[in-house]
C-alpha cells in the first residue's frame, strides 16, 4: 500500500483543471446521427418489404420524397434565418437600458404571437394572402419569434451587472461591452432559443402543406387523405428524424460557439 502514495499525487496533478476540455466528445457528437441512421434504414427495409400499391408507389418515389424534404428544409431554414435576423437585434435593443419601458410591451406581443395556433395562422394567411410557401414562411416566422427573442433578452439580462460595469470601468465603449462581453456570454442562451425555434419550425412546417407550401407535410397529407398508412408513417418519420437531426446539429454548434471558461 505505501507504494500508492506517489501515484496518488500524480493523479491529483493530472486531474487539476488547468485547461478546458470540450464538453462534447466524439461519442456524443456521433451517437444521435447513428441512431437516426439506423432508424432510417429500418424504415427503408420495412417499406421495401411491403407490397406497395400504385398510389403508395407514386408517393414514395425517391424524387418525390427528396423534393418534399428539400421544400421542408427551405421552409425551416428561411423562416429560422429571418427569425434570427429579427429577434436577435430586437432582443439586443430591448435589453438596452433605454428600452426598459417598451420591453414588457414587445414581450406581451410576442407571447401572444406564440400562443396563436400556427395552423390557424397558416390557413388564415392562405385565405387572405394567397397560397404558396412564402405565406407559410410568414406564419412560421411569427410563431417562432418568441423563443429566440426571449432567450436573447434573458441571455443579455442574466449577465452580472458588476461585470458590465467592470468592462465600462476599464474603458470599453458601450458597443465594445456588447460585442466583447455581453454577446459572448449570452451566446449559449441565444443559441438555445434558436434550437427551440428550429425544432418548433420543423414540426409546424408540416402544416404548410395545407397552404400549398409543400414539404414533408404534403407526404403526410396524401397518406391521410388517401388512407395509405405507409405513406403517412414515412412522412411523419422523416419529419421526426429531421427535427431530431437538426436539433442535434444545433446542439453541436451551440457547444462549439459557447466560449470556453464558462
Amino acid at each position: 500500500m505505501p507504494t500508492v502514495t506517489p501515484d496518488a499525487t500524480q493523479v491529483i496533478t493530472l486531474v487539476l483543471p488547468h485547461r478546458d476540455r470540450r464538453r462534447l466528445g466524439v461519442r456524443a457528437v456521433l451517437t444521435t446521427p447513428m441512431v437516426l441512421l439506423a432508424g432510417m434504414i429500418a424504415l427503408y427495409l420495412w417499406v421495401h418489404g411491403r407490397q406497395l400499391d400504385i398510389v403508395e408507389q407514386r408517393s414514395l418515389t425517391r424524387a418525390n420524397l427528396l423534393e418534399a424534404l428539400q421544400q421542408h428544409l427551405v421552409l425551416v431554414g428561411v423562416s429560422t434565418a429571418v427569425v434570427v435576423l429579427i429577434a436577435v437585434p430586437l432582443g439586443i435593443l430591448l435589453s438596452r437600458p433605454g428600452a426598459r419601458r417598451i420591453a414588457p410591451i414587445v414581450n406581451a406581443v410576442t407571447v401572444a404571437a406564440q400562443s396563436l395556433p400556427s395552423f390557424g395562422l397558416i390557413v388564415l394567411f392562405a385565405i387572405t394572402l394567397g397560397l404558396g410557401p412564402r405565406y407559410a414562411i410568414y406564419a412560421l416566422i411569427i410563431s417562432a419569434l418568441l423563443p429566440v427573442l426571449s432567450n436573447t433578452v434573458t441571455g443579455l439580462q442574466q449577465i452580472d451587472p458588476e461585470l458590465k460595469e467592470a468592462a465600462s470601468g476599464i474603458g470599453m465603449t458601450r458597443g465594445q461591452v456588447l460585442l466583447r462581453v455581453e454577446l459572448p456570454l449570452a451566446v449559449p442562451i441565444i443559441l438555445a432559443g434558436m434550437r427551440t425555434a428550429i425544432v418548433w419550425n420543423v414540426g409546424t412546417a408540416t402544416v404548410a402543406a395545407f397552404a400549398g407550401g409543400g414539404g414533408l407535410g404534403s407526404v403526410i397529407t396524401v397518406g391521410l387523405i388517401q388512407n395509405r398508412d405507409v405513406v403517412t408513417i414515412v412522412g411523419a418519420t422523416l419529419t421526426a428524424v429531421l427535427a431530431l437531426f437538426l436539433d442535434h446539429v444545433a446542439r453541436v454548434v451551440q457547444e462549439l460557439l459557447t466560449p470556453q471558461g464558462l
Binding site: H18, R19, D20, E165, A166, I170, G261
Partner: protein, 383 residues
C-alpha cells in the same frame, strides 16, 4: 508636498428619482502617489464618490480635476483607459483567458500584439503569478486571491497614474486578504500610483492608507487625515463610534518596533541539540545559539529551567508593535524576540514598552511629530 493630483470640487450626485443627494458637495484632494482610503458604513456614498472619479457615475454638479486637467466633460471611455479600476473578485471576464483579461485595456488602447504579450507576462510576474502557469487559464480555474491578482495586473497593465479600487480584497478569506494587502503595499512602494481605495473595513483602511477619509451619510467627510492621527484623535462622535473601542490597539499596527524600545535581558548560550534544564540560570533569559541566532526563552522561575522555543520577528519596516504584542500573547513569553535582517539577535520588546507606546498614541503628541514612513520615502523619491 506635492499638489493635489485628483481634486474633487463640490462634487454632487443626485440619482434620478431621489430628492436627497447620494453625494453632497464633496471636496477632496488626493496627492500624487498616495493611497487614500474612503471608509464608511455601507450606503454612505463612498463607492458612488469613487465611481464619479472615472465617471462610471456622472456627477450631477461639481468638478473633477485630474493632474490639472478638468475631466468632468472629457470622453469618459478614454478617461477610464487612463485610470486603473479594480473591483471585488477582480471583475474578470469569465470567457477570456487570464492573458486576454490582462491585455483588455492594452487592446482598447491599440497596442500592437508584439508589445502586448511580453507586457502581460511582466504584469503577471509583478503580481506574483507565474505566467507560464497562469497565462492560459480561465478565471474559473483561479482561486479568489489569484483572481484578485489578475484584476490588479489588468488595472496596472497600461501603467495608469491612478488606480481606483472598490473593496478589492473583500471577497477573499482573511488570511489571503492579509497576504494580498501586504503584497499590494510592497507593490505600491515600487509603482507609486495615486490610489483611491474604498472599503468598509476600518482595519484595512488603517493598514493600507497613507490617509483615510472617514465618510458618513451623503459622502460627507467626517475626518480626513493620516491613520495614526485619526486613531489618536477622532474628530467627533461619529468617527469614534466607527473606529470602535479598540482604536489604541489598532494604532499599534501602525507603530514600528524600534531599537529604543528594547529592554535588556540576560542571554543564555545554547548549543544545538541540548534540551531543557541544563543550566542553573534563574529568571527569564533569551536563548541564543552560538552562531548568534535567538531561538527562544529559558523560563526558570522555580525548579529547573524550562526552554520555550519562539520564532523571532525580524526587525524592519513591516514589523509593528502589534506583531510584538501578538508574539508575547501567543507564546506566553515575557517579551518579544527580534532579530536583525541577517537573523542575528537584535533585542527584546517588553510589554511595558507597548504600553508606553499606546499611552503616547492617546496623548497624540508623539504621533503628530512623526511623519509616516511612506511620506518620508515619497519625499526622497521626488527630490
Amino acid at each position: 508636498m506635492t499638489d493635489a493630483f485628483i481634486k474633487l470640487e463640490k462634487l454632487t450626485k443626485v440619482f434620478p428619482g431621489h430628492t436627497e443627494p447620494a453625494v453632497d458637495e464633496l471636496d477632496l484632494c488626493v496627492r500624487e502617489g498616495e493611497i487614500v482610503m474612503l471608509v464608511g458604513p455601507s450606503g454612505c456614498g463612498k463607492t458612488t464618490t469613487m465611481k464619479m472619479i472615472n465617471r462610471l457615475v456622472e456627477p450631477t454638479s461639481g468638478r473633477i480635476v485630474i493632474d490639472g486637467q478638468d475631466v468632468t466633460g472629457v470622453n469618459p471611455d478614454e478617461l477610464r483607459r487612463r485610470i486603473g479600476y479594480v473591483i471585488q473578485q477582480g471583475g474578470l471576464f469569465p470567457h477570456l483567458r487570464v492573458r486576454d483579461n490582462v491585455a483588455a485595456v492594452l487592446r482598447l488602447l491599440g497596442w500592437p500584439k508584439a508589445r502586448i504579450d511580453p507586457r502581460v507576462d511582466e504584469m503577471l510576474e509583478l503580481v506574483g503569478l507565474d505566467p507560464s502557469v497562469y497565462r492560459d487559464r480561465y478565471p474559473k480555474h483561479l482561486s479568489g486571491g489569484q483572481r484578485q491578482r489578475v484584476g490588479v495586473a489588468r488595472a496596472l497593465a497600461a501603467d495608469p497614474p491612478i488606480m481606483l479600487m472598490d473593496e478589492p480584497f473583500g471577497a477573499v478569506d482573511p488570511i489571503a486578504r492579509e497576504h494580498l494587502q501586504n503584497e499590494f503595499l510592497r507593490l505600491q512602494q515600487e509603482i507609486r500610483k495615486t490610489i483611491v481605495f474604498v472599503t468598509h473595513d476600518i482595519t484595512e483602511a488603517v493598514k493600507m492608507g497613507d490617509r483615510i477619509a472617514i465618510v458618513r451619510d451623503k459622502s460627507a467627510v467626517a475626518q480626513f487625515d493620516v491613520p495614526a492621527r485619526v486613531l489618536a484623535s477622532p474628530a467627533d462622535e461619529f468617527v469614534r463610534d466607527f473606529l470602535g473601542n479598540n482604536a489604541e490597539l489598532r494604532a499599534l499596527s501602525l507603530l514600528e518596533v524600534s531599537a529604543h524600545q528594547f529592554s535588556p535581558f540576560p542571554h543564555v548560550s545554547m548549543e544545538p541539540g541540548t534540551t531543557q534544564g541544563d543550566t542553573a540560570h534563574r529568571g527569564p533569559a533569551t536563548v541564543v545559539l552560538e552562531d548568534g541566532r535567538p531561538v527562544g526563552w529559558l523560563i526558570a522561575d522555580e525548579g529547573p529551567g524550562r526552554f520555550l522555543p519562539v520564532c523571532p520577528l525580524s526587525l524592519g519596516p513591516q514589523t509593528m508593535l502589534s506583531d510584538a504584542l501578538n508574539q508575547m500573547v501567543t507564546e506566553g513569553t515575557p517579551a518579544a524576540l527580534l532579530t536583525d535582517a541577517a537573523g542575528q539577535f537584535a533585542g527584546c520588546v517588553e510589554f511595558t514598552a507597548v504600553q508606553r507606546a499606546v499611552a503616547g498614541t492617546s496623548a497624540g503628541a508623539a504621533m503628530d511629530e512623526r511623519p509616516s514612513e511612506r511620506e518620508v520615502a515619497g519625499a526622497d523619491g521626488h527630490a
